[in-house]
Subunit: 364 residues, 2 copies
Amino acid sequence: MTIWELDTPALLIDLDRMEANLERAARYAEGHGLRLRPHTKTHKSPYLGRRQVEHGAAGLTVAKVSEAEVMAADGLGDLLLAYPVWGDAKWSRLTEIAKTAPIAVALDSEEPASGLSRHAVRTGLTIGILAEVDLGMRRCGFPPGQRFRDFTRAVDRMPGLKLEGLMFYPGHVNLAAPNGEEELEAVAAGLAEALDGFRQDGLSTSVVSGGSTPTLYHSHRVPGTTEIRPGTYVFNDRSQVAMGACSWNDCAATIMTTVVSRPSPGSAVIDGGSKTFTSDPVRPQEPGFGSIVGMSAVRFEKMSEEHGVLDLGDHQARPPQIGERLRIVPNHVCVTVNMHSTAHGIRGERVERSWPVKGRGKLH
Amino acid sequence: MTIWELDTPALLIDLDRMEANLERAARYAEGHGLRLRPHTKTHKSPYLGRRQVEHGAAGLTVAKVSEAEVMAADGLGDLLLAYPVWGDAKWSRLTEIAKTAPIAVALDSEEPASGLSRHAVRTGLTIGILAEVDLGMRRCGFPPGQRFRDFTRAVDRMPGLKLEGLMFYPGHVNLAAPNGEEELEAVAAGLAEALDGFRQDGLSTSVVSGGSTPTLYHSHRVPGTTEIRPGTYVFNDRSQVAMGACSWNDCAATIMTTVVSRPSPGSAVIDGGSKTFTSDPVRPQEPGFGSIVGMSAVRFEKMSEEHGVLDLGDHQARPPQIGERLRIVPNHVCVTVNMHSTAHGIRGERVERSWPVKGRGKLH
């Protein structure tokens, strides 16, 4: 089968590029003595989770209990649920998974830890816990300091839980930004402070989990890190290019679309909008909703739910015709993949293998 | 069952509000002699399509062949596919639907019309066509004028197709904006010009399909309109409130979330981000990703894929606790509903009925 036999819009994965991305990260991690635990939020597919393990990953990361269920159902264990999971329904499902697949959880406050402890004791399990510390991301976690130490000591005393170390996410660090180096240094300093507290309190630091795709190849510059959790690196996207984290040739995922209208000489409409790509902006903020392969002068300037409107710019002399197919590198591939039920792995124009995005839309 | 027994994030539909929205639009349309053909892109559910028909809708609108299939499979006919559908695969599926359910198509150029004509002839069908004209939206369609007239005359001559009239979408008109009235007047003037062309060319104007949710109750101010296709009106959202098209009490859809982290006195993290809400901005552009019910001082200021970060503002004295549930009116309900597999119809705290969002994620 070739890509021309697929209906559009279609999610295409360039397998050569993807495998190069996996291999490069695995070699880096191995070279620096870091375990690689990719975040599966980007591909949401057990098939690719297994490929990551085959390429040297020590385990996988998920954000939702339902994502963990999808991975465990395909025999993928050694999972980290990197989310402050809340509520009896989710804690109960989590302990069900833990009966067969090793799964640790990253938590950032006593309340969810206490609930999970109760469920672990009830089922006779011990659940591994990482304490999430905030090193500048300003999302979950207390910053290093007394409040964080109180939390880690409390978790360490809870039955059914085993505090194994800590987790941080340097997702705010953009090394292409003027303050990028400072941000990375602040992460390293914050981690040192947090680790000091762990040692003073006699807590385990056997797992120190960090890493992001934009800072992937700088992970060794945050001393104490033992494992990294990049997600986007498997495919890369326009945001990663904008942050200097990869080149266009490292972008493995494109959306193949069809031109469905040419309402004026300077514009074209494609059959994908916010329900195909999502409206995530490129990071750092730049205009446009994606980059059209081979047409750098064309701007993807507007979208509604099912329409993408292109400003053809210099391509007006040789514009794409109705029915022509355009491939687009999305702004943020993790949310775009989540809009597709099937991914098509290609080499050149040949579709080598298609697989279901089994974790698509898993919200619970 | 009550809403407290649902896991979060959950899509809740206030049935009293929704029915009031349906009834109000139906009464307006009836009062002005307009047929109501709601766009199902907002709810993507045959169950609600049927409710709309029960509330006086003359038919339904869809954007994708796969959405038409979902509606037709539940026995809902009289469909308008308001999209320049392209390609043999889609034309073939479209004629399959047309064998059992009346379906018309809105097209904006000769190329897709020609393809559809070929498939209609092959199957011995006649497919109704509306010619899409651009009255300022700058998406699909030629503006009124020679190019548009050439197109409509060409379609009128194509075998297997029956040109029934024209379609426009005044989705750019925001009557709360300084130039809103001018925009609406320009739509009316553009439509008059397009209709003149139709009459001069002896073409049918039995269907003149327009309307949008923001301009819903002003549809009679565009003379010649025979039917309207509002979509968002079934639920409404933060954008409609911002445009003055409805009040907060008309917003029927909320996402129920749970506070999972309180990393600082001034912030809370909820269990929904861009994979629950999407990152669509409010229209017209205002900051924030949704409005928290009963907490107008709280700002939904940041989101990542699974995290929503709230700035608690004045609520710091009585902040929401971990485990507390917050309900949020989304910025753009059409894309938010598309992220959920199930909708829960509620009255007060009681879940009266849940239904599958069968058209969710239909891309083809």
